[in-house]
């Protein structure tokens, strides 16, 4: 409880400090809107030209896109400490101060940054979800709402976990390793579209190693009443938990890695 209070308190402070430069903040928020709007435009134009992708109609594609945007940018907004600053903190030795304080390391890193500019990206994602839901005529039930919420929460855990991988590499190599971006940003770009788009090696990558398919596409397809691989309903509730499982595994590796941490500070 205490931890959550601490997190909310630092979020409030950080947001207030960012709003000190309103013009710059406004411009950057606008830029985010153009960025995510551009991604959305790409999907709309593709749908306009090709009409459908395998079994998925326009509404379905917008829905999957929306799920990914909302999840990814919620993570980038509230997990900014991990998704943005972590490698920098290791490189500059800022992490040392965190190691001295009587709180968990990840908690402190999470409390160190927030990115409210992402709000426009999340808005685009929500718009895509609404558009997809009305185009595909989804009949919403309590179960489906629950499923969507679970998918988003578990997706956030997965994405946070993938960003921690970068931090782990950073502990050993000091330099931030852009290669990991292939998993995080690449995963985002790839899994905006349902997993059956891809050839087998990519499917394995995004199901087993970075289980975007299990956290997003299985429940998503269930909400759209077109279950992937004909799996039954209960699988849609179980499979997103793989997001937390992935986070757990990566967190354990991180705990081991941090023992090797040698400060770079001067």
């Amino acid at each position: 409880m205490d931890t959550i209070k601490l997190y909310l308190h630092s979020m409030r402070m950080l947001i207030r400090s960012q709003l000190q430069y309103p013009a710059s903040f406004f411009m950057q928020t606008l830029a985010q809107l153009v960025m995510e709007g551009g991604e959305m435009l790409a999907v709309i134009l593709l749908v306009d030209r090709f009409e459908r992708m395998n079994q998925w109609g326009p509404g379905d594609l917008y829905f999957f896109f929306g799920m990914m945007s909302v999840t990814f940018y919620l993570t980038e907004c509230f997990g900014r400490g991990i998704t943005g600053n972590f490698p920098y903190m290791i490189r500059t030795g800022q992490l040392d101060t965190c190691l001295l304080r009587p709180r968990g390391l990840l908690t402190q890193v999470l409390c160190s940054a927030v990115d409210p500019r992402r709000i426009t990206c999340i808005a685009v994602g929500v718009a895509a979800l609404v558009m997809g839901s009305s185009l595909s005529a989804i009949r919403w039930t309590a179960v489906k709402v629950l499923l969507l919420a679970e998918a988003i929460v578990c997706g956030c855990a997965l994405i946070l976990g993938l960003f921690v991988i970068e931090a782990i590499f950073c502990i050993y190599s000091v330099k931030s390793v852009e290669l990991v971006n292939a998993l995080t940003y690449g995963g985002r770009s790839a899994c905006q579209y349902p997993i059956d788009t891809y050839p087998r090696p990519l499917r394995v990558l995004f199901t087993v190693f970075a289980p975007f398919a299990l956290t997003m596409h299985v429940p998503g397809s269930m909400i759209l009443d077109k279950p992937l691989f004909g799996w039954p309903l209960w699988t849609a509730f179980v499979s997103p938990l793989s997001g937390f499982a992935a986070f757990g595994v990566i967190f354990l590796v991180f705990r081991r890695a941090i023992r090797h941490y040698r400060s770079t500070g001067s």
């Binding site: 950057q28 090709f50 395998n54 790839a190 788009t197 891809y198």
Partner: protein, 263 residues
């Protein structure tokens, strides 16, 4: 002229120094390329268009390979604007616009060549329908190379206009970010311009952003025939003149009312 040439050479050499970073970037970009092609393939299977898929695959690879040409920007200049270091450059017996134009030109050229060569080699080795196919014709390939060169001049001129805005606003992230995003979309990096609605393409292909990579790529894949090439190159040349002229005017105005930061 000799001064500009040596600036160009220095900058070019600097750009080849961080080879490890280049390798990481290349692998990332290759991965993105494969994902994009997989998406377009799945879409294409449902509703084939009136040109072969190999053209789209080639388009994606060429865009990915020369990605750095679009996005490289002069971080030193940004720092100098913010810290006031630009005052030193004002003392140089060179035209400020020309000085920075040559620098960005070298950076974009070397940066993209360094990445493009290994990526294109890899893309050629991929199986048919996934990889880069051979150019439509030898003449088309020659025109494409000429187009690429003009595209490089065009994107460098554009970059200097963006920098001109930064000098005014001092905030590198807002305006620059916005202009760069616009460029990524309208240059065909987010989605090949050939996949935009046909009616949009008539307008978009005339914009300066389409002259950077889209025009040469179309010459390469044969979507623009060699017979049309002189017209395309003329459009490119016209935009280079317009953008360079605007940029020079902008920088000269900026220089007259420049406020040096820091102290």
């Amino acid at each position: 002229m000799k001064a500009y040439l040596s600036v160009f050479r220095l900058r070019r050499r600097l750009e080849t120094q961080y080879r490890g970073a280049v390798l990481g970037g290349v692998i990332c970009q290759v991965f993105f390329g494969i994902i994009l092609i997989a998406i377009y393939r799945a879409l294409y299977a449902g509703k084939p268009q009136d040109y072969p898929f190999a053209q789209i695959a080639s388009y994606v690879w060429l865009q990915q390979a020369f990605f750095r040409m679009l996005l490289a920007s002069d971080a030193d200049l940004l720092d100098k604007i913010r810290t006031g270091g630009i005052a030193y450059d004002l003392c140089r017996p060179l035209n400020l616009y020309g000085f920075y134009y040559v620098r960005i030109l070298a950076q974009k050229m070397m940066g993209s060549l360094l990445r493009a060569v290994p990526m294109l080699v890899f893309a050629v080795l991929l199986p048919e329908g996934w990889g880069l196919s051979a150019p439509a014709s030898a003449a088309g390939c020659c025109w494409a190379l000429a187009g690429l060169l003009l595209g490089l001049l065009c994107v460098s001129a554009m970059e200097n206009i963006t920098m001109g805005f930064t000098m005014r606003t001092l905030d590198s992230r807002g305006m620059q970010g916005l202009l760069n995003l616009l460029m990524m979309i309208l240059a065909g990096n987010v989605l090949p311009l050939t996949l935009f609605p046909d009616s949009w393409q008539k307008v978009i292909t005339l914009l300066p952003y389409a002259q950077m990579l889209d025009a040469p790529i179309r010459l390469y894949t044969g979507q623009t025939t060699p017979a049309e090439a002189p017209r395309i190159l003329l459009i490119q040349a016209a935009w280079i003149l317009i953008l360079t002229g605007t940029g020079m005017f902008f920088w000269n105005r900026n220089q007259k009312r420049i406020v040096i930061q820091g102290g």
